[in-house]
Point group: C2
Chain length 339, copies 2
Amino acid sequence: MALEKKNENEEYSQLRQDLVTGDWVVIATGRSKRPEDFVVKKEASLESSIEGCPFENPEASGQKEDVLVYKKGDGEWTLRVFPNLYPAIDRGRRPKPLGEGPYFGMTGTGYHELVVSRDHDKHFALMDATHIAEVLDAYQDRYINIMNKKSIRYISIIHNHGRSAGASLFHPHSQIFAIPVISPYVQLEISGAQQYKKSNKKCVYCTMIEHDREEKTRVIFENDDCIVIAPYASRSAFEMWILPKFHSPYFERITNKQKLSIAWALKRALGALYSALENPDYNMYLHTAPCDGNDYPHFHWHFEVLPKTSIWAGFELSTGIEVSTIEPEIATKRLREFV
Amino acid sequence: MALEKKNENEEYSQLRQDLVTGDWVVIATGRSKRPEDFVVKKEASLESSIEGCPFENPEASGQKEDVLVYKKGDGEWTLRVFPNLYPAIDRGRRPKPLGEGPYFGMTGTGYHELVVSRDHDKHFALMDATHIAEVLDAYQDRYINIMNKKSIRYISIIHNHGRSAGASLFHPHSQIFAIPVISPYVQLEISGAQQYKKSNKKCVYCTMIEHDREEKTRVIFENDDCIVIAPYASRSAFEMWILPKFHSPYFERITNKQKLSIAWALKRALGALYSALENPDYNMYLHTAPCDGNDYPHFHWHFEVLPKTSIWAGFELSTGIEVSTIEPEIATKRLREFV
């Protein structure tokens, strides 16, 4: 039998469709908890001690060469970018085709870099907005430097916070992956956005922003240039998207003013998440248009934040339909208490 | 700088493309470990005590109604299927459209059932093949019972083993989700299979089986009716696919003889995984053609097993490109020592 409902008006489990990709999520309100129940008891945290942190003194850890350094007036570094010592992608050579029988592959060449901010224990929720803007500066600097390199078709910029989100070091850092293929997920968003534009003569992301601003129930924060929403088809509890309110396919064209707005939005949104869920682990990443030489006028770049509030298990991995147990409207209400 | 290579012949990171979906994976051999390094130290295991296990005596735990029971000659149950007390999908009502502005949704109605085998501490790797065949029997029985119900378009059958794979109870059990939408991942496989058939006049899965049997390096086990391979584009270390060797889109048409062959293959493959990686957590699931009334002659049903050997973090979640750190050919070699 299904979980017994207390009364007729009680809500049922919902299937919600992502307006961009057409993918589905389940919002299983039959399993619903109160917002404060989403605080995750961490089973293992990262070693937080500053001693032995390889990012405090990267040279001593075998790091030979920075690709970008920002410094203060006194010459002390405030942010560094260097190639990952343990890269998933080998640096800079032209990919060679590999294959076997019917299969196709290539050497995994490109760039895999680390963006390291100075303060060992200040992650985004605790940073000043100006320091977050500096991180965004570095994303943009490196993006522009790499985007026209031979064979690079997509640049993925990501930030893992906490051990269950895949971070292996406590010291806050982001990663840049430049690869010779286009991200299938971003391709799916681009195809959806193109399709929507064709049918509705409007950007699908601009449509969401417009509707959500009117509806208000999923708006976590907004300022002049950007908006933070809990997406209608949230794939995990407390998922957040940070979008520029102005239409723009290309993150690398962000202006300094916009960067500061995004930095404030990240600070407020990630700060609210930190307070509401007691410093949950999360993955944050940029979705921007590919840099393969084609134009993507109908895409709309944005950041997505996926808190590690549950495990994607067999059903999610098998179907691509994620199950979340809180409505984004209720998550928004909770986050707004802290924003 | 990239990780320094010891010599010119050393292998580099590879990008491999899934022949069915076109998706990419990274095999990061620059980060490679020895096969025995993939044994995962479990941070938390499920409570294994038989006392308090709700599946030992389901009635006492509030379970009111079985939808299927298999019994021995003495009347003792050997397998039961009942609706999940905490369903992600509400039972059996016709989905009602929901929506808001540009968004579309529907009530999440269908079926969410649990398949429970009798032995509290015998999971697939430790079960007799006949008992695994009984579980497959139950999958088929329930599939056939549900597939023609109103509004059901896809049935997902999954098995989570271990806490990090999302299982919440130690007692082995599988889950059946019958939903009013088609799984996007299966849709992707179907589209890929249709495309491949159109271009190559052959089933893409049959092509893989034929090639991998010749090549041998990714074949973990085979018997009369089925084959276990480590897929060329493995998304996680030690991923395994169990496929019927005969072309068949529809799992529900499996014969008793084939069922026993698959049961043996599951026992041997999951047994090898259990031995090689010291009982790792994993997700296993069935991919079979949708039951929406259409024919899918070019699909080829199969089980996939995804061991929890690493965390899919920002890059994977952002791009849909998974990073694995061992070549499937080396994983196969290791598994074959134990099969």
